[in-house]
């Protein structure tokens, strides 16, 4: 790989950072949502579930367009940026994190929700008869039992953020070290006919995707075995 400049690794580092932070936020934010979706009896909960799942169907250009406006100086993002003297959250790493959290949310919430739902009422009722408080039961019973769901959610959320392109292209501004993530770097290399670099990054992405999917399949198989 001699002769390759540092610029090829910078997007890789940045992408891993973005995906890791996004996944962490999603695990924190997504868990209560998933729990509520799995346990609530509210009639409108499927409405909320549908909103969470929207990014599955919406083209990234729709989200990119809304984000460009919302993060801008006339939107709430601009007001937020004002707090530290900025004008806009577009073209910033923080802006990408916000976009990624929205974009990857269904990939984290759905598996965790399914895992919570699969537990059923019984184990929690048993915990209650043993005088565990609902909070305690949540931490010591529900969370451990839903572990495969968390694992699947984390892997999918991470992978999906790595694979994000359209939104980043629309709100990122292609700034090296800040918003130039892997997918955008590949687009850039292809547009400027730098195929050697494009090949290296694209090949790496393909290998990464293969490993992720394989991991998911093996994980599923193991979970099925434990369940049986």
């Amino acid at each position: 790989m001699g002769g390759l400049s540092n610029d090829i690794w910078q997007p890789v580092r940045l992408t891993v950072e973005l995906a890791a932070i996004t996944t962490l936020i999603l695990l924190i934010v997504g868990t209560p949502i998933a729990w509520w979706l799995a346990r609530s009896k509210a009639w409108w909960k499927e409405g909320v579930a549908a909103v969470v799942a929207l990014p599955l169907v919406l083209p990234p250009t729709v989200l990119g367009f809304y984000l460009l406006v919302l993060l801008g100086p006339d939107g709430p993002g601009g007001a937020l940026a004002n707090l530290w003297g900025g004008r806009t959250l577009a073209f910033s790493f923080e802006g990408l994190v916000i976009g990624s959290v929205i974009y990857s949310m269904p990939f984290v919430v759905q598996p965790i929700r399914n895992a919570f739902a699969a537990i059923g009422d019984r184990p929690l009722e048993v915990a209650a008869t043993l005088r565990a408080s609902p909070t305690r039961a949540f931490w010591t019973v529900a969370i451990p039992l839903a572990r495969p769901g968390f694992l699947a959610g984390a892997v999918l959320g991470f992978a999906h953020t790595v694979g994000e392109f359209g939104i980043v292209l629309m709100i990122g501004g292609n700034i090296p070290g800040k918003t130039k993530v892997l997918s955008v770097a590949i687009f850039d290399y292809v547009e400027t006919s730098q195929w050697r670099e494009a090949n290296i990054l694209a090949g790496g992405m393909a290998a990464f995707a293969f490993v992720v999917i394989l991991t998911m399949m093996l994980l599923e198989k193991r979970t099925a075995r434990i369940g049986a």
Binding site: L68, D74, M170, E191, S193
Partner: protein, 253 residues
């Protein structure tokens, strides 16, 4: 069963409509550099009215189209934002030899949505803005011209941390339009018919003229609509439209 029947029906209808459209007038797929979007739409409409042929337009950055054309994209004419890429296509045998000509010379402009913000080169020197949007200097000629102009004014290094890049000139424009960047280098053609904000047309001596060349591609050599479009583009109607959008007309080749 039902679905396959339906598919056959759709395919049949598609073939019929294809054959039918060919019988009356031809159509050509034209790759257009993003800065020429509005002018190209108007030219295509005039072209259709005059010849009956259809010009199907695709918009993007010149770099993107160049890559696609080398990979056998189904374009018959390429209106680039530079002179190099059409020449390269001709040299590589993907363009028809001798078909190249300069259809427009682009003008670079510094624009802001805020009235009074852009005054001239002093705006760049004072740099009292957070973000300056340009388009990708390697893929898009207007981006390269912007960088050249900033270097000529000795502000390139100082402004580097404030630069944000659009994938093409339309996106660079959109960043300014949405207010996410206060100022941006865009094409004068994009401001046609609008007095919004403040602008500074960058003097020609600060950057190499943006000669925008058209080339007939090998795939269009035998296409009536494609060759007719090339001729129309050199004609007086097209030239009037091109000038209206703030371009200079290229010297006759």
């Amino acid at each position: 069963m039902r679905i396959s029947k339906l598919l056959r029906l759709v395919a049949g209808a598609a073939i019929v409509s294809l054959v039918a459209s060919n019988a009356f007038a031809a159509s050509a797929n034209i790759a257009v550099a993003a800065n020429f979007t509005d002018a190209a739409k108007e030219i295509a409409a005039a072209f259709k009215q005059k010849t009956g042929h259809e010009a199907v337009l695709s918009f993007g950055s010149s770099g993107q189209f160049f890559t696609q054309i080398t990979q056998d994209a189904p374009f018959q004419v390429f209106l680039s934002a530079d002179a190099e890429r059409p020449k390269k296509l001709e040299d590589d045998g993907l363009g028809v030899a001798g078909s190249r000509f300069t259809y427009a010379i682009g003008k670079l402009v510094l624009w802001s949505k805020t009235p009074g913000l852009v005054k001239g080169e002093e705006t760049l020197k004072a740099a009292s803005f957070a973000k300056l949007s340009i388009c990708n200097p390697v893929a898009a000629p207007y981006g390269a011209a912007a960088v050249e102009a900033m270097k000529a004014l000795n502000v390139a290094d100082a402004l580097q941390p404030k630069l944000v890049e659009g994938a093409n000139i339309t996106q660079a424009f959109q960043f300014v339009q949405t207010g996410n960047a206060e100022v941006g280098f865009i094409a004068l053609s994009q401001l046609t018919g609008s007095n919004e904000g403040s602008r500074w047309v960058v003097p020609q001596n600060l950057y190499t003229p943006i000669r925008q060349d058209a080339v007939l591609l090998k795939k269009g050599a035998a296409n009536e609509a494609a060759t007719a479009f090339m001729t129309f583009l050199k004609g007086p109607e097209a030239r009037a439209i091109i000038e209206k959008y703030g371009y200079e007309i290229g010297e006759r080749s």
